[in-house]
Amino acid sequence: MIWPTENKPRAAIQLNHEGQLRHFLSIEGLKRELLIEILDTAESFIEVGSRSIRKVPLLRGKTVANLFFEASTRTRSTFELAAKRLSADVLNININTSATTKGESLSDMLRNLEAMAVDMFVVRHVQSGSPHFIATAVTPGVSVINAGDGRHEHPTQAMLDMLTIRQHKGGFENLTVAIVGDILHSRVARSEIHALKALGAAEIRVIAPDTLLPVDVESMGVKVFSTLDEGLRDADVVVTLRLQKERMEGALLPSEHEFYRLYGLSAERMRSAKPDAIVMHPGPMNRGVEIDSAVADGAQSVILQQVTNGIAVRMAVMSMAMSGQINALAARGGQ
């Protein structure tokens, strides 16, 4: 199976005339400087999270609609918290109970939400490219943020992982990052590889059985390993991925038990990595499948810090995208 590819001109829709973010749809196509700006802005929002009042007035009067066409707990709730901490009003649309089940089309639903003066859509969808489609359909000035689309990208997850890595390792240039597990179904892996490449990581490895690797993954500039011990050797960062059983059509795996035996991250296995290596997981975890509890809850785990960083990164992306739309509208008006 092949990962969906995005052609370059599509990435340009994310930026305004000055190269500022106005939608956040994919990491692919974004330059290092912009990714660094997201990380730096997120650091400022982390400081806001430590105050007695963890709220800033940036998006006061703006309305953010969370459109989740696919289940999510962590991502949806951290997007909601992020919007609220920016003082925006938040509308959570649970798609299963919304009018789409009564036959309303997506564009009709968007028109209706826009009529309620929604300024930003946060979209999660099972179909790759849905947030991009919505970004082409919304009226000027409205932002779209990708909260995970199919197997394509999960850009805010990648950026919160980059923030977590930078906090622990200081930078990316000398790092060996190993991504383990279900690479094939993982939009997180895909976004992370693009981000790590743009940020200049020394070596990016993917460790998975052949059946869970996209065809031609080497063309993304990663090293492929089929055994865990070899792939983890001297790694600085280990990213474990959730085994996405719900996306698996056909027999890609003999069994979960077999997967754990070969690719499950245990304390024993972690000894191949550097002693100060950090362990990440985008959640939700299948304990005893891709990761052992001893590792998930161990001293090298930064999994809960990832969740906290998720709020700051989402605040950064939302405020930067809204800012980019404001400047784009101002430029139109000034012409």
């Binding site: 802005t41 400022s44 982390i46 400081e47 105050r51 007695s52 009042i53 940036l58």
Partner: protein
């Protein structure tokens, strides 16, 4: 054409500001206070003023980017950095320091931000130069100097070492 003329002697202004701060705090019965500067000129000035006052303890640094009232017009300021207050503001007396006072909007944003760290007991405002053009009812408690600028002129503090207040000419309005 852009020219830069040194305007005033910042060192002697700092000395007189320090004296005014000391007598004002005495008159207000404020024994202990902390110093907060607004990035970036205000932070340089706050550190210099703190040294002049013999103030112990680190100076707080405020980045007001998230509190500006013109976000819906010009968007987010690039290169925002975390604010850093190495003390609690709750029930604290604060000396808020900035380089140039103009519309008063920066001070309003700074006060809003300070309150989100905890409700201060008091805020005293010290600025190096007042150039008028006020848009909000905000006045300094301690002032270095007043400047009358011609149309198109802007004033800027260069620093941190040495501190120099310069006028920039010919900047389009």
């Amino acid at each position: 054409m852009m020219t830069e003329d040194p305007l005033v002697d910042v060192g002697s202004l700092l000395q007189s500001m320090a004296q005014k701060v000391t007598s004002l705090m005495q008159a207000r019965n404020i024994g202990h206070y902390e110093i907060v500067g607004i990035r970036s000129g205000g932070v340089w000035l706050a550190k210099a003023l703190g040294a002049e006052l013999g103030h112990r303890g680190a100076v707080g640094e405020l980045d007001i980017s998230f509190y500006r009232d013109d976000f819906t017009r010009i968007g987010l300021h690039p290169r925002v950095r975390p604010s850093a207050l190495p003390f609690a503001t709750e029930d604290q007396n604060l000396l808020l320091v900035d380089d140039v006072l103009m519309s008063g909007r920066t001070i309003r944003a700074a006060m809003n931000e300070l309150f989100d760290f905890g409700r201060p007991a008091s805020i005293t405002l010290a600025v190096l130069a007042d150039i008028g053009q006020r848009e909000l009812p905000i006045q300094p408690d301690v002032l270095g100097c007043t400047l009358h600028l011609k149309p198109g002129q802007r004033v800027k503090l260069l620093g941190p070492e040495p501190l120099n207040l310069v006028v920039k000419q010919g900047v389009p309005t």
